[in-house]
Amino acid sequence: MSERRFPVCVSPDHVMGLVEILNSVGGAADAERINEITDVDADLLPHAIDAAEILGLVKFNSGNLRLTGLGKKMAEGTIKYVKRELGDVIRDVEPFRSILRRLDVERMIEKDELMDQLKGYAYWEDQEDLEKVFSCLLSWLLYAQVAKYDWDEDVLLPNSVRTRHPRGHKATSSGDLA
């Protein structure tokens, strides 16, 4: 897996949106054409392409985008499948890899410690930027269901740990429909 820097603040929805659009035009297209179809913010598309390529969902070569086999499967898969596959692939991508390995060992990481770890990874100017990066990171970890977050204690936990019914509610885990 590539060691390029993963743009954390591109969301799973951005990456999957790009994958879905590519699939809807037959699996390959010029990036400029995708830009025309979607009218997506010029700041966002290159980062979404980067993220999708690092995750192994698209190949980008001389301005041309092509879905990989995994990308096609994810475009055609259910939400549940997409989440499971994302959970697998982000384990090999920084900064998720280091955080998840650390979580395996320490079983709990406090928010402040995570923020410290992110300082060396993402671009940030002030605390507000860092909070944003933290929240982006969290959205990946939670969406891919590779970790849980205890909102009362502000700690990241392994997904296998049952949270203490955060925010005063009884946790439920019955019957997925997906």
Binding site: S11, D13, G17, L18, V25, G26, L44, L45, H169, K170
Partner: protein
């Protein structure tokens, strides 16, 4: 009615939404698309004309309807799970049962892990997922979508469109038909089986287009482009 002034929003609009059909309603801003949706939902009364569901007039009787608006309109002090459970509890479902049902729909929309998040902690896309889950959780027969993707960035919008179509194609739950208000031709052709094009206010039906393309639809197919071009002509 605006103040004491009476504004005629809809003049002559007629269409059917058949079983297992997605109908898109397109038209210029202010042509009464949202008013039309409210009339179908039974929350606004037409001064003339009628809406029927399965052969019954919608006035005293109302089909079970789920509605999703442009903005998710979630209760800010409730978590994602509680927002989804809210209409269920309002329908009289006991709290725990409501929350269990809500959790199933939350998972369906890919929100596991975010159940205890408040709307301000979630992205726009995630909040719109909560709104969709809330609309689906009431087991609607009719799903009404009022430009539900228009406030999202294009990539997030595409993800939600695809997810909704996936759910629709596996004939999920109780939904018989979906009525989608949109102003985006590409979205209408990508999603709908039938497109109703309205004129400026007071709106009339300008065209009724069938979209017989196989799913998943290829945006680069000649047929897809032809229908999009036709829509632009009418608009």
């Amino acid at each position: 009615m605006v103040g004491k002034r009476f504004i005629k929003a809809i003049e002559d609009v007629s269409f059917d939404a058949d079983e297992n059909e997605i109908v898109a309603i397109m038209g210029p801003s202010g042509c009464g698309k949202t008013t039309l949706l409210k009339i179908v939902a039974g929350v606004e009364k037409p001064t003339k004309g009628e809406v029927t569901y399965a052969g019954r007039r919608i006035d005293g009787f109302r089909p079970k309807v789920g509605i999703v608006f442009q903005t998710p309109s979630l209760v800010p002090w409730l978590t994602a799970l509680d927002n989804i459970a809210l209409p269920l509890e309002a329908q009289g479902l006991p709290r725990e049962e409501g929350r269990e049902t809500a959790y199933r729909y939350l998972s369906l929309m890919g929100l596991q892990g975010f159940e205890e998040s408040y709307p301000w902690e979630l992205s726009r896309g995630m909040n719109q997922r909560v709104a969709l889950a809330r609309a689906l959780a009431v087991n609607p027969e009719l799903l009404l979508l009022d430009e539900p993707f228009s406030q999202l960035d294009p990539l997030t919008a595409e993800t939600l469109r695809a997810e909704l179509l996936d759910l629709w194609q596996v004939q999920f739950a109780s939904i018989q038909s979906i009525i989608l208000v949109t102003h985006v031709a590409d979205e209408a052709v990508y999603m709908a089986d039938k497109i109703v094009v309205l004129s400026v206010r007071p709106s009339r039906t300008v065209a009724l287009l069938k979209v017989d393309l196989p799913r998943p639809r290829n945006r680069w197919s000649e047929d897809f482009k032809r229908i999009v071009d036709k829509l632009y002509e009418y608009m």
